[in-house]
């Protein structure tokens, strides 16, 4: 059923990620561990075409972009991991003609059933975040499952029951939890750091949130280069100003 479940009730579980853009260092560990887990688990095969050749094409469910914001000395590099945001109003689910794409009522995870997906790709058109990638070999759509085969997996140690990307992050920039519970650690983090959802203009209400990079302290800014001649009236300063003028001719 591709109609969305009613998730308006108070206390509705909304599992998702909170990604800290302030601490992400762009190491790609989350992307690699995602690929590693999901090409063996329920998303397998997460196929690659020509992986070692000149024109490789592969399915990855998590991509880490690098952006630069601001100008000159104020400019700041920001690494930006991008994966499925498990939207509350997921258009990728409602456009699906077969019911293969669905949002779970119990925890809000958006999944694709590979046995009923016809590979029409319409869900990938409906997603503004580029979260869905088509598996050429299997002929079905793939997406982040929030590692549904890890987070409820009794065979794993409790501390391992988190998405692979969260487990792999060396800087603790990725947090997993229930964003429907206002008292959860992730919800508090979003409140404290003014976390935001992507493209609210489009109205898909993403569950995943991003924590903005902190403003740099003025004191932390690199000192400007001292001028060659200096500004004082001493003999050395005047000598260097004279030398500067002579050498500038």
């Amino acid at each position: 059923m591709t109609s969305l479940p009613d998730t308006s009730a108070a206390g509705q579980k909304k599992l998702g990620l909170v990604i800290d853009l302030d601490t992400c260092v762009g190491c790609q560990a989350c992307a690699v561990s995602c690929k590693e887990w999901n090409d063996q688990g329920m998303s397998a095969p997460l196929s690659d075409r020509d992986p070692h050749g000149a024109d490789p094409l592969g399915v990855w469910l998590n991509r880490v972009h690098g952006y630069e914001a601001g100008e000159g000395a104020e400019a700041q590099g920001v690494y930006f991991p991008r994966s499925c945001l498990h939207c509350e109003d997921a258009a990728c689910v409602t456009v699906c003609p077969t019911g293969a794409s669905y949002k779970r009522a119990e925890d809000g995870i958006v999944l694709v059933d590979p046995d009923t997906c016809i590979g029409c790709k319409l869900c990938s058109w409906a997603c503004p975040y580029g979260a869905r990638e088509y598996d050429q070999d299997q002929g079905v759509m793939k997406k982040c499952t929030l590692c549904v085969d890890r987070i409820y997996n009794d065979n794993l140690q409790p501390e391992d029951r988190v998405p692979a990307c969260v487990k792999a992050c060396p800087t603790g920039a990725r947090h997993f939890g229930d964003l429907g519970d206002p008292d959860s650690a992730v919800s508090r983090l979003v409140d404290e750091r003014e976390g935001y959802g992507l493209l609210p203009e489009l109205g898909y209400k993403p569950v995943n949130k991003y924590l903005p990079p902190r403003r740099r302290d003025a004191a932390a800014a690199p000192p400007s280069l001292a001028s060659l001649a200096g500004e004082g009236d001493g003999l050395t300063e005047r000598f260097f100003r004279w030398a500067d003028r002579v050498l500038s001719r």
Binding site: H65, I118, Y196, P213
Partner: protein, 313 residues
């Protein structure tokens, strides 16, 4: 957006088929001037061939065409599913209507079934257009004029086909000429208004809004997420159409204008020359429709391109 040939063929061919079938239904429902049985057989055959061929073509780009029947299940939420259901629902009344019309049955049932067929044809084309118009992620598709344009092109190609059958069957009436000429003008007018609408709408989304980093200053891509192209870029990052949009638009306008000219020539030329005119009109209409459909995809920009370096969308 990457223009998949199967989808371009599907929307243009089935559009022409639904246009022809719908106009035959409308003619039977509101007048007594259906063409004779011989011409009707040929017209119905071509209409069903175009519709069925188009629907089959639409399954070519699927990863699992053998599961296509599953697409009929989610009509409550999905326009693609609704389109499939409506396309199938059109067949039974249309086939009975065609049989009654060919066997020269003249009665209330023919009229009712003609109108029902025409209505189903129209809403099937509307559902096809809504697959695109309902996507808020693609500004050039999420437009009120998309549905009227799809309807107008289906009508124009259907009316030109109907005129062709009427001329070749020696049963042309002024109504056929007015219908073909009028719908061609309508298609050209609506498409021109559509182009003006998408050109005038401000592109108010940028990389700063997409990443939520706009408050830090101007945002630009500094390091790509991957070194080779991925599915998202191949499917959603197609740019050739936008680069040549101006020329292609003039080509479509020129094609529709030539088709209109040929329809006018058909009106004044006698006998076999008229038949030549109508065949030319058909060729120009079909060519213009195919280019129009290709450009509809190729000049559409998906919001996700903002994450991949596009400055605005």
């Amino acid at each position: 957006m990457h223009p998949a040939y199967s989808v371009i063929l599907f929307t243009s061919l089935s559009g022409a088929g639904y246009g022809l079938l719908g106009l035959l239904g409308l003619t039977a429902g509101t007048t007594t001037s259906l063409p004779g049985p011989g011409t009707l057989i040929a017209a119905f055959l071509l209409a069903f061939l175009l519709i069925t061929g188009g629907l089959l073509a639409s399954t070519f780009h699927l990863g699992h065409p053998e599961r296509a029947w599953r697409a009929l299940s989610q009509w409550r939420s999905s326009w693609l599913s609704r389109e499939g259901v409506l396309a199938l629902a059109t067949y039974p009344p249309a086939l009975i209507f065609a049989w009654l019309a060919i066997t020269d049955h003249d009665g209330g049932l023919l009229r009712v079934l003609g109108l029902v067929t025409a209505f189903l044809c129209a809403i099937t084309v509307v559902a096809t257009a809504m697959i695109y118009a309902s996507l808020a992620t693609i500004r050039q598709w999420h437009q009120p004029l998309v549905v009227p344009v799809y309807l107008a092109f289906a009508l124009a190609s259907g009316a030109t086909l109907l005129l062709g059958f009427a001329v070749l069957g020696g049963q042309m009436q002024p109504g056929h000429l007015i219908l073909a000429g009028g719908t061609l003008v309508l298609a050209l007018l609506l498409k021109t208004l559509y182009w003006r609408a998408i050109d005038q709408e401000p592109l108010d989304l940028d990389m700063g809004k997409a990443t939520g980093l706009g408050h830090l200053g101007r945002v630009r891509q500094w390091e790509g997420a991957h070194t080779a192209e991925n599915f998202v870029q191949q499917e959603m990052g197609y740019r050739i159409g936008r680069r040549h949009a101006g020329k292609l638009r003039r080509l479509i306008t020129f094609g529709l204008a030539l088709a209109l000219l040929c329809v006018l020539l058909t009106a004044v030329l006698p006998g076999s020359l008229g038949a030549f005119g109508v065949l030319l009109a058909l060729a120009f209409t079909l060519a213009a429709t195919l280019v129009e459909r290709w450009l509809f995809f190729a000049e559409a920009q998906h919001v996700v391109t903002l994450y991949y370096g596009a400055e605005r969308a």
